[in-house]
Symmetry: C2
Subunit: 223 residues, 2 copies
């Protein structure tokens, strides 16, 4: 079906152009932006709840929260104290695109924001193709999935700069092995920065938070 | 982007036509076919490993196993004793389509098969749009995901006839509540048949297997 491929290429190239505009805008305002991607249920919203709890006294954090339906995740983040939370209900689309982010940022004053977080739709395939103007994609994986996920969904792990392994409190309840997921991930992308943590117990969150804070500060120093 | 929507509609309608051909072919051969869908990591392959172990002495089971990359899942099912296992590596595509199944069934003698299983790509969004000629979609969800998944990914739960809740041995390790996931699922689709089981401990597998065997027998009796 060459028609379909041609159209997909056109859509992606239009998306890339708009993403580049967004990137420039974020850059001008020295906002650090990450695009959080994972399967449904890996714990994206839980990680953001914890991150808000630990960082919102220090930083102005904006969160744009994508879901196919419902504003449940956005509501959870508001309950976790998020002051700048905006849902995007995609109404069927399996990913966020640059146009959705473009519309969404009209609701914020970027100049007052330090950290801009995009929680993508839970999907380990399609969001990897859509640049949203972010500084980096961060892929979340949980220990209750399989440790071969990086090999089976390589696109996402290739496009991400960071892998966060969540639910370390559940290690040992399945065949998932931490060293294997790391080996598999680094086989796909040798540059991946890796964090291990449990949103439930809090283990490992401090390292994640320190790193995140550092990224925000580095961004402010960029000329 | 009306172009994109028009092309998508065309692709889906071509897919539906081919799926209808497949359905007729399966019907003629009285093969019961299910299309197993879920997020990555919910346990599709584990459920099929257990199902093979418990049913392959009674039935001729064919398995077509979709993955974006790797034949890992197909290899696992061969190791679990599967004699008629065929991988489909989609090479980036986020779902199986009827054309892939059409090519794949050339490798089987449908007349000798009782149960035909399609393990879809791990993705709770896109596979819901693609009819593969199956008798039913079966959606798998695990207790380590969120109990609001049916509300957040309604398309998949609306298109499925059965929901299997896996990893019941991990109930209590998260906020996931069994009664809530059932309520949410039935809110989307009041006709859903629901099974609860743990592939790890084996709890609940007998009910699943009995039901599956019944579907195969009912199919044989269809005129």
């Amino acid at each position: 079906m060459p028609d379909k491929i041609a159209i997909e290429k056109k859509v992606l190239s239009e998306n890339d152009l708009l993403a580049q505009e967004l990137r420039t805008k974020f850059q001008e305002n020295k906002v650090f932006v990450f695009n959080l991607v994972s399967s449904p249920g890996s714990g994206k919203t839980s990680l953001l709840e914890k991150t808000l709890g630990l960082l919102q006294d220090k930083l102005n954090i904006a969160l744009v929260v994508g879901d196919v339906q419902t504003e449940n995740d956005a509501d959870r983040l508001i309950q976790a104290g998020g002051k700048l939370v905006r849902p995007i209900v995609t109404g069927g689309s399996c990913h966020l695109d640059a146009n959705m982010i473009h519309k969404s940022i009209q609701q914020f004053n970027l100049n007052e924001i330090d950290l801009f977080v995009i929680e993508n739709v839970g999907n380990l395939v399609c969001p990897s193709s859509y640049d949203l103007g972010e500084d980096m994609k961060i892929v979340l994986i949980s220990t209750t999935e399989g440790d071969d996920k990086p090999l089976k969904y390589p696109g996402m792990f290739r496009k991400s700069s960071v892998m966060v392994v969540n639910k370390t409190d559940l290690l040992g309840f399945s065949d998932f092995e931490l060293h294997k997921v790391k080996e598999n991930a680094r086989q796909i992308n040798g540059q991946l920065e890796i964090f291990e943590l449990s949103c439930r117990t809090g283990e490992g969150l401090d390292t994640w938070i320190d790193w995140l804070l550092e990224q925000v500060i580095l961004k402010k120093k960029e000329i």
